[in-house]
């Protein structure tokens, strides 16, 4: 059977679903092809017994009505189809020397807490946040402007000067403009695990948007889990004549004389299309298209790109309410930081050595936000740490099982120390390793954030481009600009459509 589509999407992650919804609403004929039996990629749910877990979402920044980030949700047509639940506290940072709770939309309260621990830094902290907010405004001006994309690019140095000024420095370098206090800089980047790099290596251009968006507009979960968002996007696509084909991997991207001709899918065979937008890793795109269609220089540049780190998450379903284990109703995310610098921790993480005293980890009290995902009287939580791909992918299945169990036990032991008695209440325990991440999304080495967000690989000009050298072939999602994250991938959709479609 042969079809005609304007655009075919490879993979149904958030990047693809968001762009397909934007294009379908503009009257384009779209097809989204997904290997898995559910849409969403990392933005999906799974069930164990009576518990439903969100695969990935810890915190969605800024999606409050009237906020900048919510504009993307509106543009995709799902504003009235999904409900966002705000987190009563953004996070709590727990280290030996410092314990700070950041409230919902309470930058002033956060600053006051910082003043208590760093009294001599008061002025610096004030200046740092004032400038970070101005920078956020510049970024929003650029991202959400109604002007054509090229016009925004030309106007950037004049109208949005900070985007260029700070875009190419690290988070640490940016903070250093205001303070020399190393400890303060680490505390300010408490959420570094969301970006997959220590502040000293992480691009400020990528970090700066969610940094302020979380503080000023809050952190959110999606009622019913992120599957609800993915499903809502599918509904919009279908309501506008588009199609989502599940359980049907794209087996080949077909080109003819340097331009896209279509794809071959498992279910439909050859499908003709004018454009193909890939939501999978660029390495996989090249493999599906055939290396011979790319210049050697392009391929070697691609091979030089560094992958982001992977992660390990333990999902626990408990037979009692969280309050029984001493967890307050206001608690949501707790970051536990050992007395090591982020860079020292990252060395351990990359080597796959996880140790309660060497690497940071976090707890998410999931059911405190959405009790509808667990049975009445029960609860759920997640334990998370970054981990390098190290040998996860090469182990035999038996060794792999042992390693996975060992890390699961280590995280539960950690949690047991802050929630005594936890173990006796575990009814469901499931772990997601780098190998699991690869299985579900085909992302190489279980990378959870696409390419690493170093200054060399970040920003409008340095990020892996949305346009391939093959005519009609594009990239969307975590691998390209701006990068990973719920808002990151949905923004990448918006930029793609604004710029090229």
């Amino acid at each position: 059977m042969s079809h005609e589509y304007d655009t075919v999407f490879v993979g149904a992650g958030l990047g693809a679903l968001a762009s397909a919804s934007l294009m379908a609403q503009r009257g384009q004929k779209v097809l989204v092809v997904e290997k898995h039996n559910i849409p969403g990629g990392y933005a999906s749910n799974f069930r164990r017994k009576d518990f439903t877990f969100d695969v990935s979402l810890h915190s969605f920044d800024g999606v409050m009505r009237g906020g900048h980030s919510f504009k993307v949700i509106e543009a995709c047509g799902v504003a009235d189809k999904v409900e966002f639940l705000h987190h009563p506290t953004l996070y709590r940072y727990r280290a030996d020397d410092i314990d700070i709770t950041v409230g919902h939309r309470d930058l002033e309260g956060y600053k006051n807490a910082l003043f208590r621990f760093f009294p001599e830094e008061t002025d610096n902290i004030n200046r740092l946040f004032a400038e970070s907010r101005r920078n956020y405004q510049d970024l929003c001006g650029f991202l959400y402007s109604r002007k054509p994309f090229w016009m925004r690019l030309v106007a950037t140095p004049m109208v949005y000067p900070r985007v260029l000024r700070y875009g190419h420095e690290t988070v640490d370098a940016y903070f250093s403009r205001f303070t020399a206090n190393e400890r303060l800089k680490e505390v300010l980047s408490a959420q570094w695990s969301y970006y997959g790099l220590p502040a000293k290596d992480l691009a400020f251009g990528y970090f700066s948007y969610p940094f302020i968006d979380y503080l000023d507009h809050g952190g959110y979960s999606i009622k019913g889990g992120s599957q609800a968002l993915s499903q809502a996007l599918v509904e919009v696509i279908e309501a506008h004549g588009g199609r989502v084909e599940l359980e049907s991997a794209v087996q080949r991207i077909v080109t003819s004389r340097g331009r896209i001709k279509g794809v071959v899918t498992r279910k439909s065979g050859e499908v003709r299309a004018r454009n193909v937008v890939a939501n999978i890793s660029p390495q996989a795109v090249v493999a599906l298209t055939g290396e011979e269609h790319f210049a050697p220089r392009y391929l070697s540049r691609l091979r030089e790109q560094k992958l982001s780190v992977s992660g390990f998450q333990v999902y626990l379903g408990l037979d009692c309410p969280l309050s029984e284990l001493g967890v307050g109703a206001e608690d949501y995310i707790h970051f536990f930081a050992p007395p090591k610098t982020q860079r020292e921790q990252f060395e351990h993480i990359k080597a796959g050595e996880l140790h309660p005293d060497n690497t940071s980890w976090s707890i998410n009290y999931f059911s405190n936000i959405d009790p509808s995902m667990v049975p009445v009287g029960k609860s759920s939580l997640g334990l998370f740490t970054l981990t390098g791909p190290s040998e996860w992918h090469s182990l035999s299945k038996l060794e792999y099982r042992r390693k996975k169990q060992a890390l699961t036990d280590l995280l539960i032991d950690n949690a047991e120390r802050v929630m005594p008695g936890l173990r006796q209440h575990i009814e469901v325990c499931e772990a997601g390793s780098p190998r699991t991440m690869s299985k579900f999304t085909q992302n190489p080495e279980g990378a959870i954030y696409g390419f690493e967000q170093t200054t060399r690989q970040s920003g409008l000009f340095n990020r892996f481009p949305q346009k391939y050298p093959v005519k009609g072939l594009y990239q969307v999602g975590a691998w390209t600009f701006p990068g990973a994250g719920f808002i990151g991938t949905m923004l990448s959709a918006r930029v793609l459509v604004d710029r090229y479609f």
Binding site: H36, N37, R48, E247, S396, K397, T436, K439, F440
Partner: protein
């Protein structure tokens, strides 16, 4: 719900489906493989891996193949768990796509040798 291996697998048994399963739900027989419904977590990852299109979600079985649901459950109790992919049966090309192979099914499991059979889990 569970996923179910059906007729197409018999005498082919590529075992392409095994490595991807996060739940170690596959059990190996001499010329067929089955999914243990107690272990399967319905992730659906195995379905596209099978070159014979032998795997079906329970809710998509019809009258012609519904009996495979019970067959999977029963055989899973007798056959060892397979953890790692092994080569397909030698004469599989001959049997690929041949309909109604159930009469060829060998129920009796091969004896497990703990030294040789490293692809199997030993209870």
């Amino acid at each position: 719900m569970t996923y179910v291996v059906t007729d197409n697998c018999i005498r082919c048994r590529h075992t392409n489906c095994v490595d991807i399963c996060p739940a170690d739900a596959f059990h190996l027989g001499p010329n067929f493989i089955v999914i243990n419904p107690q272990e399967c977590v319905d992730c659906g990852l195995c379905l596209p891996e099978c070159p014979e299109a032998a795997i079906t979600p329970e809710n998509q079985l019809d009258d012609s193949n519904r009996h495979f649901l019970d067959l999977n459950a029963t055989l899973a109790e007798h056959w060892p768990v397979i953890l790692q992919r092994i080569p397909a049966l030698e004469d599989h090309p001959q049997w690929s796509g041949v309909p109604n192979k159930l009469p060829h099914l060998i129920h009796e499991a091969d004896p497990v040798d703990p030294v040789r059979d490293t692809h199997l889990a030993h209870a």
